[in-house]
Symmetry: C2
């Protein structure tokens, strides 16, 4: 399966985050893990202990005590990697942890590459590729929905769905191949109507998975929301109100907030990254200003969703002008009429009908804020998905599924145009190839290395 | 022993550093730890498993999967705290970890206070107080020497030495008490000469421990070294040369560098924190400049050691003037004649003899740099200690030992002045009290809470 160097090495790495903590865990995997541990641990012979047991004692190197630790033993094949695994639970001093890793290296282990523990688990057949990728997703998960989809992936939920697709395709393929064997007799074993129905069903499943990617992407990476509008429209008030409104503020999770992101909130388990922009200047000024507006639009285009906030008392023409520009630029946007509490209901009604679909709120008093958040969620879900279905979160899976879908369409067209069976079979094999690449049944090493290189070290 | 609230609660905390890692460990301790774990872990009944075993499965809360984890079980009293302890080894997502802690809280655990696991270990008699403090020291250790002294403390090395002192004092005390029982008969059971010899011996041991504190402090916190001198004396060159010279640069350990510290180096396992100062102006200028010099001296006084760096070609008078000022200010300093390679050896010799003890180096070419580092180490060790003896690293221990020493001196004076036995006994009881406080045999709760509050959460 692979010709890469170093798969027989015993590897070691710090598995817990860097920094000072109560404890730090060092993980070692490979044929020599137990014998290396035996040379460092003097209390008893670890290699003679039963798998899945814990042992307390001191690690020493050349007579020098390194730390008092708890050693966890997992014996091949009953371990994460499928190899012998030893974990040292140490006192959480970066210095002490570094010394213990160094001692393992001195005794013959080498430092693990990022994701190498999981890559070994994959190579030993403990996980398929989508499950291995779910491990990385779970570690990176920052919301309940991300956690759920990753856990579903880890349990093989996504793989199971793909397997089903694959089986149906194999069935189809078998019929075609049979037909090819008897091609000179010019019989059709494979009922063309049945085949067409099967292809249509496969195409629907694939398309449904493909469509789930937008949501999957939102679940995995969050939805960027640019809040824009003229000065004093109430953008910052809205931001603050949304943050207070949202009961699950996730911005306290380290790593959630990036440079360009102002605040992150969790609405119905979808992570929204709110970007508060500087107020837009009035559009009625000169051309230089218009160029500035163009630059702002440019910035907005990179957001998944734009909230255009305006004062309900503002002349409606300006809003209509902005809307036209946004539509021309194919922006995803919601029009948010703020300060609705300061405008008479009747005039507000006229206002709304002139604009079409507008969400009317009063950010300061939080009036109808839930209508806005609901619209934001609906925008992401597009009313078509719920988080209980299998969701594609991985770009690699998405791209492979796109190829599957394309091949399926080609096959269906072929069927329609009475393409010879051997050409049809070619299309079906293409589908099977792409599906196999997702789960790792068909792989190439570069791709594997790329996938695992994105893991953190120690996993 | 204590009346504090909550010692019967089951406590939970993240034990690994915050942030994203391959794995994170959540620790739970208390009577309900196993039953709480049983409600979250569905694969098997954890409370029925043998102590010191590992179990793989999914944590679920109200039917919702939280994570696939490894559970480590330690049964009372064979655990760190002496209570039932459960450790969840989880995927290292801060979000997932937070969810699992929340699930434990929902099932009846409460968040652990900083150091509460170790405090419980102390209260259950698993560790004495100096051992518990050594746990915190080990976690904070940043050099091999700090690791060694903390591990020695953890193994009870320091306690053993104090126990010896205590036993000898108890012996002395017993003789005195005996004498008091027969006081009306005016006999002396306790041989005054023998008593004096015993007290002298105790005083010597205590004094030796007290003296070790300077080294202990250096080992634990590092030695601050201010590099000062006129502009162009070569201060920054010296700093760079020292940093390159030192093979164990420890400034890459997170948390080592603080705001005011420029660079940290490890010389012979002692951590030196080098502070490069702005060049001092020439002393020959006016009074306002002299006030500035005074301020610089003020800054230098806070350093453990000052390296005064000057150009070997510089007029010797200025160096002498600085030296006088430094001596008047009781600074710990070393005179460092830089650029020795640019000065003829003969003139250099004359120079040195005029100043007394000067270390001659050429920072740029690293000539004789080892003589300087040796002098720095000697300054810390004062030639009196080696790191193989018991070293006092803890301010609390140091202060208690100071009280012991004072009481011993008082007792000896009392003996000399033929103080009545009951007053002598009082002094001895004072000594015993202070020794008992160090190991935790005699404690008060405020003190305990203060000690453990400095621990990190999860330990």
């Amino acid at each position: 399966m692979n010709t890469l160097q170093g798969w027989d090495d015993t590897i070691v790495a710090l598995a817990t985050p860097p920094g000072v903590g109560a404890i730090g865990v060092i993980r070692m995997s490979g044929a020599a893990a137990l014998s290396i541990a035996d040379r460092l641990f003097t209390a008893k012979k670890l290699s003679e202990q039963v798998s899945h047991t814990l042992h307390v004692g001191v690690l020493t190197q050349q007579g020098r005590s390194l730390d008092e630790v708890v050693v966890a033993i997992y014996k091949n094949p009953r371990s994460y990697t499928g190899e012998d695994v030893v974990e040292f639970s140490c006192h959480g001093s970066p210095f002490v942890l570094q010394e213990i890793v160094a001692a393992c290296l001195a005794e013959g282990a080498r430092l693990a590459r990022p994701g190498e523990f999981t890559q070994r688990a994959f190579l030993k057949g403990k996980l398929d590729l989508t499950q291995a990728e779910a491990v990385a997703d779970l570690i990176a998960s920052g919301t309940r929905a991300a956690q759920r989809t990753a856990l579903q992936g880890l349990k093989g939920g996504f793989s199971a769905e793909l397997m089903l697709l694959r089986e149906q395709l194999l069935q189809f393929s078998a019929l075609l191949e049979l037909e090819l064997d008897f091609s000179q007799e010019d019989v059709e074993f494979a009922d063309r109507t049945k085949l067409t129905a099967l292809l249509e069903q496969l195409e629907r499943s694939t398309f449904s998975l493909l469509r789930s990617f937008q949501l999957g992407n939102a679940i995995r990476n969050g939805v960027s929301v640019a809040i824009i509008g003229k000065p004093n429209a109430g953008k910052s008030t809205l931001l603050n109100s949304l943050l207070n409104e949202s009961r699950a503020l996730v911005s306290d999770i380290p790593g959630t907030t990036r440079d360009t992101i102002e605040e992150a909130i969790n609405i119905e388990n979808i992570l929204f990254r709110l970007i508060d922009t500087a107020g837009l200047r009035d559009q009625t000024t000169d051309r230089i200003e218009a160029a500035g507006m163009e630059r702002s639009l440019e910035k907005m285009r990179s957001a998944d969703l734009v909230l255009y906030v305006f004062d309900s008392a503002e002349p409606v023409d300006e809003v209509i002008a902005w809307k036209k520009q946004a539509e021309a630029a194919s922006l995803n946007f919601l029009l948010v009429a703020n300060k609705s509490d300061l405008v008479p209901a009747a005039s507000s009604q006229a206002f709304l009908s002139a604009l079409g679909n507008v969400i009317s709120i009063a950010a300061k008093t939080r009036q109808d804020l839930d209508q806005l958040t609901q619209a934001m969620v609906t925008h992401v879900l597009k009313g078509q998905f719920d988080t209980e279905h299998t969701i594609v979160t991985n770009v690699r899976h998405f791209q492979a599924l796109q190829e599957v879908h394309k091949a399926l369409l080609d096959a269906r067209r072929g069927l329609k145009e009475s393409l010879p069976g051997d050409l049809l079979a070619l299309e079906v094999r293409r589908c099977l190839q792409y599906l196999g690449e997702i789960t790792g049944e068909i792989t190439n090493e570069d791709q594997l290395d790329f996938i695992f290189s994105k893991f953190c070290i120690g996993k």
